[in-house]
Symmetry: C2
Subunit: 316 residues, 2 copies
């Protein structure tokens, strides 16, 4: 532990909020999780967090800053805006609430952006200047680093690839639109594709016995590993759409690596191999062979806390 | 004219190479054009350019640097690579050739990137930190500025949106692939769409008398202005694909403005209005209303020279 000080990393989710104190080397101390209780006002969460943080920091080196990863967080304004899973209305000045308790440097951004900064400071992107992190979980999150800097854009919301429309009029998305990338390329997207294929095809498949609610991406992964043709096709279709859109992303910022993180990335070669192949097939000649697809180094549980803390460490 | 010095801007095209001396305010002096003679080696062009430049700079203030815009130019390496209209093989060290004659600061990038830097220094993007320039001519070029910096990426070729695949297996593209954005959204794309519509539809249309070679985007524009239904639909289809892909671009870097430049942008409202509408309809909620579509301020003829010179001025 570095006696000079620690940075607090906070990861706010719809159900659980986790935090931990992170040193410059990326070690996490006194990690803790509390229920978000998202139906209550943001003030209530911040007050409860404050209590837990104060108890947890007893005996630790000084607090140098607080980094926060949260859905729909606006880095420029310090706000959380229209987050579907947090019932906080159109806009909450979240950093303003935290500042009532802590007068240290504060920073907030969305979880996938935080993951990208975490990968750059503590993960497989150390020393890299141009890369993208894609998190494939319930949805698809993304953070884009170009020339060593995370892109925020004029709104503070740059690098939100999950809602690019890949199929106009296609699958219904939680955001209110149709055909968004994350309705195809995510753990949920894979499950929906599996269901579509079970309807389209006639083959015997062990997953025919499962209701949709139990047809997790892990079950589909296991079936594919056993050689089930439908599950394999579900992965192939997912990889095709993801690979095609990653090729588009390459045309925007020309990264040297795209990191795949999150639950679905645990499928490993079943996902990485076809995604890389499809991506290459859609790439413009100038980019061919220039970009690799790699797994994140950060463990899923650590990634959000480390990334949030890295927001501050990268500025110190 | 600024006595402190001028920057030479050079615009290399497949047919013509133009240059001019540019002061800090964006005035161009002693502009000249020579044939590129692209079938000859690059050395020959540089030697001829040198002669013309030396003649043209007589009596001018000192030369502070040379900026070059050229197709497929690699900013990182100073090379021109695999340019379809320049018969110079897979790679020419173009800055190396220029350096034989001039020991001033040199910079090179592709024409659309140069246009973006020119727009930032001398055009409608002055003071803006996040914007994109799209040039709609024979093809579609683009340059992306994020947080005040042009994106080059790991390859030096970032921001090349013309070859994003919008229709797998679709229209044949000069790059060897199919369904690239520029085969739909460009002056040539509009002409191809017009031809498709003339085949699909039965209506009377004044352009039915024209062979494809004479069916220019200007003729289609004039027909649309007269209210021709097919020409109007050609603009609408072009705008839909362009608007959709601009919405994707917004999700990557969240610009405050997208500038449309080049020949097709001269269609004005006929192109801008439906493109803005379609773009908005495909935008993720967080970006709604955050991005405007505007014309470039730079005149088509000046843009490339000013942009090339701006590469150097922006560093001085």
């Amino acid at each position: 532990m570095d006696d000079a000080g620690l940075v607090l990393g906070i990861d706010i989710g719809g159900t659980t909020t986790s935090f931990g104190f992170v040193d410059r080397a990326g070690n996490i101390f006194n990690r803790e999780s509390i229920p978000t209780q998202a139906q209550d006002p943001a003030e209530a969460l911040v007050a409860r967090l404050h209590e837990h943080i104060e108890a947890a920091r007893t005996g630790l080196p000084p607090l140098l800053g607080i980094g926060i990863g949260a859905p729909n967080a606006n880095h420029h304004k310090g706000t959380i805006e229209k987050a579907v899973n947090l019932k906080w209305g159109p806009r909450v000045d979240f950093l303003g609430l935290v500042r009532r308790f802590y007068q240290v440097p504060l920073a907030i951004t969305n979880d996938a952006n935080a993951a990208a900064v975490g990968e750059m400071m503590f993960g497989n992107a150390r020393g890299m200047k141009d890369f993208i992190v894609i998190t494939l979980g319930t949805g698809l999150g993304s953070g884009i680093v170009s020339d060593g800097r995370l892109l925020y854009g004029t709104t503070g919301f740059a690098g939100e690839l999950g809602h690019i429309v890949v199929e106009p009029g296609g699958r219904q998305c939680g955001c209110g639109k149709r055909g968004c990338l994350e309705t195809y390329a995510s753990a949920t997207g894979l499950r929906r594709t599996m269901l579509t294929l079970l309807a389209e095809r006639n083959d015997v498949c062990p997953l025919r016995n499962l209701p949709f609610t139990e047809m997790t991406s892990k079950r589909i992964y296991e079936a594919a590993k056993e050689g089930d043709a439908i599950a394999l096709e579900a992965f192939d279709r997912t990889a095709r759409i993801l690979g095609m859109k990653l090729a588009d992303a390459v045309a925007h910022t020309s990264p040297e690596v795209i990191f795949l993180a999150g639950g679905l990335a645990a499928a490993g070669e079943l996902l990485f191999k076809p995604t890389q192949r499809y991506m290459e097939s859609f790439l413009f000649g100038m980019y061919e062979g220039s970009v690799r697809l790699l797994p994140s180094k950060l463990e899923a549980g650590d990634s959000a806390i480390l990334g949030a803390a890295a927001l501050i460490w990268s500025e110190l």
